[in-house]
C-alpha cells in the first residue's frame, strides 16, 4: 500500500522517522476487539486435526536457559525430529532454537533429520553489548551451522527515537548472517504501544528481516494476540506494496493447543493462507509441543493420555 511503497530512499534517521511516523496509527481498543473476535472462531474435527499438524510443523522448539546442558539439547533435538515416538505420522517441528554455544551440539544431533537449528544471538535477551560483540556472536553461530539467527533489536535506541541505530544494526547482523535466515525480535513487551509495534515491524522489514518475531520469552507480556495481529498486518501491507513476503514468529506465552490454533486463525484471516506454512510462520515455544501431541492423540484415538506419556524436555 502507498505508505509502505513510498519508503525513503536515503537512510537517515530523519527519513526513517518520517516513514515510520507516517504509518497509520493503531487504535488499541479496536485492535484488541478484532483479536478477541477472532479468538471466538470454533475450530473442530478435521480443521482441528489439520491445525494441530500445521502447528507442530511450525514450532521452533526452544530451550534458552542458563542451566542448559549438551545432554538437554540433544534430548530436545531427538524430540524435534520425532515428536511422538509412538506415532510416526506426527510431522517434525520447524527448528530447534538454542543459545549460540549449543549450536554445534544441536547441529550434530539433528544431522540428517531435516530439522534446522536456530540460534539466538546479538547478546540475547537484553541486546546490551557493543555491535562488534553482537556481530561476532552471530558469525560464530552461523559458522557452527545455525541456519537461522534470532537477533534482538536495541529497544533503548528504538524508544529514544534513534531508528537509524536500530536499522543499521539489523543490516549489519543480516550481512553477518550470510546464508542464514534472520529473525528480528522486537521485544514488544518493552515497546508497549501498538503504534510502536507497527513501526518496529516496518523498520525491521525495511532493514532486511526475513522474519519479525514478537519476544525473547524473557519479558511479559509477550506474544499477545493483538500484538501478533499488528505484526501480521505489517507483513501483509509490505507484501501488498512490494510483493515480498516476510515471516512472523510469535514467541512467549503460547502454551496450549488452543493458544496455537488462535494464532493460526489470526494468520489465516489477517495475513492470509499464503502465510500458513513454516517458511512464513513459526511459533517459538517449549511446553506447547506436548500439549499439541496430547490433543492430537485425543483426536485420533478418542482417549486423553496423561502427561507422563510424553517426554519432559
Amino acid at each position: 500500500m502507498s505508505h509502505t511503497a513510498t519508503a525513503p530512499e536515503a537512510t537517515t534517521n530523519r527519513a526513517l522517522r518520517a516513514f515510520l511516523h507516517g504509518l497509520p496509527g493503531v487504535d488499541e481498543v479496536g485492535a484488541r476487539a478484532r483479536a478477541q473476535d477472532l479468538a471466538t472462531r470454533s475450530i473442530k474435527t478435521t480443521a482441528k486435526a489439520q491445525a494441530i499438524d500445521l502447528a507442530i510443523s511450525m514450532v521452533d522448539l526452544t530451550t534458552l536457559e542458563g542451566a542448559d546442558t549438551p545432554g538437554k539439547v540433544r534430548a530436545l533435538c531427538a524430540k524435534a525430529a520425532l515428536p511422538d515416538p509412538a506415532d510416526r505420522t506426527v510431522p517434525r517441528v520447524g527448528a530447534v532454537c538454542v543459545y549460540p554455544d549449543m549450536v554445534a551440539t544441536a547441529v550434530g544431533a539433528l544431522r540428517g533429520t531435516g530439522v534446522g537449528v536456530a540460534s539466538v544471538a546479538t547478546a540475547f535477551p537484553a541486546g546490551r553489548a557493543p555491535l562488534e560483540v553482537k556481530l561476532a556472536d552471530t558469525r560464530r553461530a552461523v559458522a557452527d551451522g545455525a541456519a537461522e539467527i534470532d537477533m534482538v533489536i536495541d529497544r533503548g535506541a528504538f524508544l529514544s527515537g534513534d531508528y537509524l541505530k536500530v536499522h543499521d544494526e539489523i543490516t549489519a547482523v543480516k550481512e553477518a548472517c550470510g546464508p542464514a535466515h534472520l529473525k528480528v525480535i522486537l521485544e514488544t513487551g518493552e515497546l508497549v504501544t501498538y503504534d510502536n509495534v507497527r513501526r518496529a515491524s516496518h523498520l525491521a522489514i525495511r532493514a532486511g528481516a526475513d522474519f519479525i518475531k514478537t519476544s525473547t520469552g524473557k519479558v511479559a507480556p509477550a506474544a499477545t494476540p493483538p500484538v501478533v495481529l499488528v505484526m501480521l498486518e505489517a507483513v501483509r501491507d509490505h507484501h501488498a506494496a512490494t510483493g515480498a513476503r516476510v515471516g512472523v514468529k510469535p514467541a512467549g506465552g503460547i502454551r496450549t493447543t488452543k493458544d496455537a490454533i488462535r494464532q493460526l486463525v489470526l494468520v489465516n484471516e489477517i495475513a492470509g493462507p499464503a502465510w500458513l506454512n513454516p517458511d512464513l510462520f513459526r511459533i517459538g515455544a517449549s511446553s506447547l509441543l506436548n500439549d499439541l501431541l496430547m490433543q492430537r492423540t485425543r483426536l485420533t484415538t478418542g482417549t486423553y493420555p496423561g502427561p507422563d506419556y510424553y517426554t519432559q524436555d
Binding site: M1, S2, H3, P24, G25, V26, D27, V29, G30, A31, A33, R34, T40, R41, S42, I43, K44, T45, T46, A47, K48, Q50, A51, L54, E233, A240, L264, V265, N268, E269, P273, L276, N277
Partner: protein, 476 residues
C-alpha cells in the same frame, strides 16, 4: 494451504419448540379469541418453526384490562425495592437460559449465533440488571422528588433484535412501576414467548407483563387502544408516522425509535485497519438489519484509494451461512419481504449508475440470503444514499474537507447514528459537535450499553431509551 474451518454448529437440543404458542395474558397462556394462528419460519431454510396465535381487538381489550388491574392493585403499590427484586430475578433467569434463548433467537431471526450469544443475550440481561438497580432509586434520578409511573404501556417492537428490543422496552417500564402489553414482530415472536415463561418462573404478578402476538393489525389495535397511557414503538419511520398521528390528542405519551441512514466518516488520519473493522461491523453486523447501521461510508478522498481495497479484502473474508454455525459472520435475511426490499433498492442503485461489488460468495439454496455488497460511485442524490436499505449493503461516498463531511452526513431526513474515525482528538470533537444524530461513535461503531441513552433526531424518532434518560419516558 487452505485452512477450511469445519462446521461448528451450536446444538439445537437446548431449545424445545412447541407446536403452537398462545397469547400471554394475565399471567397465563391462552388462545386468541379469534382462534387464528400465523406461522413463524426459520429464515435460514424456510422450515416452519411454530404456530403463533394472532391477537385481535378482544384480546387487546383483555390484555390492557389485565395490565390496568395489575398496575392498580399490585405493581404501582409495591415498593421500588420489591419491584427491583423481581427484575433481578428475571435477569438471572435470562442468564441461566441464555444459551436456549440465543439459539432460539438465531433460529427465528436468522442472525448468527455468534451475535445472539455474544451481543444480544448479554445486553438483554444487562438491561434488566441495570434497570433493576434503578427501581428503588427513582427519587434520585433527577426527575422530581416523587416521580410516578404512567400506568399501562403499549409497546410494539421490531424483528431485528427481538429479545433485546423487548428488554429495552420492558425493563425500564417495569422498574418505574408501569405494566406492559407488548407485541413482538410477526416474524420473530418466539423469544418473547419464552420471556413470558420466564415471567411465570420468576413469579411476576399476573398482568404486569402481557405478550400479544400477531401482525400489523394486532399492533394497530394495541397502539390505538384507549386504555393505555403510553405508547413505545421501534420500527419503520412509515409506521411510526401513522402511530404519531393516531396517538396525537389522546394524552398518551409516545416514544418512537425509527429508521436511520447513519454516516460513518473516515478521515485520512484514521487508524485505517480499525476503521475498516468499524465500517464492516457498522454495516454487516446483524446483516445490516440495524436502524443505527453505518450504511453510508463517507471516506476522505485522499485515502479512498487505499481504504477501499482493504475494505474489499476484509469483506471477502466474511463467512456467510448457517446462522447456528459458530463461525458464521453473516446470517440470513429475516424474511422474504425484507429480502425483496433489499433487492429492489440495491438494483435501483445499479440502474442509477452506481457500481456494485460483492465478494465471491455461495448463497445457500433455501432460505433468504443476500451477499454483502459495496456500492461505490454513489452520490447524495441516489436512492441508495437516501433511503434506508436495512440490509448488508454499504453506500460509499467521498468528501474532501471536514465541512463537506458534516454537510453530507447531516443531509438526510434521518438522524439516529454516526461514526467518526480520526486519530486527532480536536477533529473528533469538532465533527461530533456538528453532527445531527442521537448517537455518535468515536473510533468505534455499533457499541451498546444499558447505561447509555439511545434515540434519534428528525425522522429517526424521539425520546430516549437506556440510561437514566430512559426512565423519563415512563415517569410522569
Amino acid at each position: 494451504m487452505i485452512f477450511e474451518y469445519a462446521p461448528a454448529p451450536e446444538s439445537r437440543s437446548v431449545v424445545t419448540l412447541r407446536e403452537t404458542y398462545d397469547l400471554f395474558v394475565d399471567g397465563e397462556f391462552r388462545p386468541a379469541e379469534g382462534g387464528e394462528y400465523l406461522t413463524t419460519l426459520n429464515p435460514a431454510d424456510e422450515t416452519k418453526l411454530a404456530q403463533v396465535a394472532v391477537a385481535g381487538e378482544a384480546d387487546v381489550d383483555r390484555a390492557v384490562a389485565a395490565a390496568r388491574r395489575a398496575h392498580e392493585t399490585v405493581w404501582s403499590r409495591m415498593s421500588g425495592a420489591e419491584r427491583g427484586k423481581y427484575l433481578f430475578r428475571v435477569a438471572r433467569i435470562i442468564q441461566e437460559r441464555s444459551r436456549e434463548l440465543a439459539v432460539l433467537e438465531s433460529m427465528d431471526n436468522g442472525k448468527p449465533i455468534k451475535e445472539t450469544r455474544d451481543v444480544d443475550l448479554p445486553l438483554v440481561a444487562a438491561h434488566f440488571f441495570y434497570y433493576a438497580g434503578w427501581a428503588d432509586k427513582l427519587r434520585h434520578a433527577g426527575l422530581g422528588p416523587d416521580p410516578r409511573p404512567l400506568g399501562v404501556a403499549a409497546q410494539v417492537i421490531p424483528w431485528n433484535f427481538p429479545l433485546l428490543m423487548l428488554a429495552w422496552k420492558i425493563a425500564p417500564a417495569l422498574a418505574t412501576g408501569n405494566t406492559v402489553v407488548l407485541k413482538p414482530a410477526e416474524t420473530t415472536p418466539l423469544t418473547a414467548l419464552v420471556f413470558a415463561e420466564i415471567c411465570q418462573e420468576a413469579d411476576l404478578p399476573p398482568g404486569v407483563v402481557n405478550i400479544l402476538t400477531g401482525a400489523g393489525e394486532t399492533g394497530r389495535a394495541l397502539v390505538e387502544h384507549p386504555g393505555t397511557d403510553k405508547v413505545a414503538f421501534t420500527g419503520s419511520t412509515e409506521v411510526g408516522r401513522r402511530i404519531a398521528r393516531s396517538v396525537a390528542g389522546t394524552g398518551k405519551r409516545l416514544t418512537l425509535e425509527l429508521g436511520g441512514k447513519g454516516a460513518n466518516i473516515v478521515y485520512d488520519d484514521a487508524a485505517i485497519d480499525q476503521a475498516v473493522e468499524g465500517i464492516v461491523s457498522g454495516i454487516f453486523f446483524n446483516q445490516g438489519h440495524v436502524c443505527c447501521a453505518g450504511s453510508r461510508l463517507l471516506v476522505q478522498e485522499s485515502i479512498a484509494e487505499e481504504l477501499l481495497p482493504r475494505l474489499r479484502d476484509r469483506v471477502a473474508k466474511l463467512r456467510l451461512g448457517d446462522p447456528l454455525d459458530k463461525n458464521t459472520d453473516i446470517g440470513a435475511i429475516n424474511s422474504a419481504a425484507q429480502l425483496e426490499r433489499i433487492r429492489e433498492l440495491t438494483d435501483s442503485g445499479a440502474e442509477e449508475g452506481v457500481e456494485r461489488w460483492s465478494p465471491p460468495c455461495d448463497l445457500p439454496s433455501t432460505g433468504y440470503w443476500f451477499a454483502p455488497t459495496l456500492l461505490t460511485g454513489v452520490s447524495q442524490a441516489h436512492r441508495v444514499a437516501r433511503e434506508e436499505i436495512f440490509g448488508p449493503v454499504l453506500s460509499v461516498l467521498t468528501f474532501r474537507t471536514p465541512e463537506e463531511a458534516v454537510a453530507k452526513a447531516n443531509n438526510t431526513p434521518y438522524g439516529l447514528s454516526a461514526g467518526v474515525w480520526t486519530e486527532k482528538g480536536s477533529r473528533m470533537l469538532w465533527t461530533a459537535e456538528r453532527l445531527r444524530a442521537g448517537v455518535i461513535w468515536s473510533n468505534t461503531f455499533n457499541k451498546f450499553d444499558p447505561t447509555s441513552p439511545f434515540g434519534g433526531y428528525k425522522e429517526s424518532g424521539y425520546g430516549r431509551e437506556g440510561g437514566r434518560h430512559g426512565l423519563e419516558a415512563y415517569l410522569g
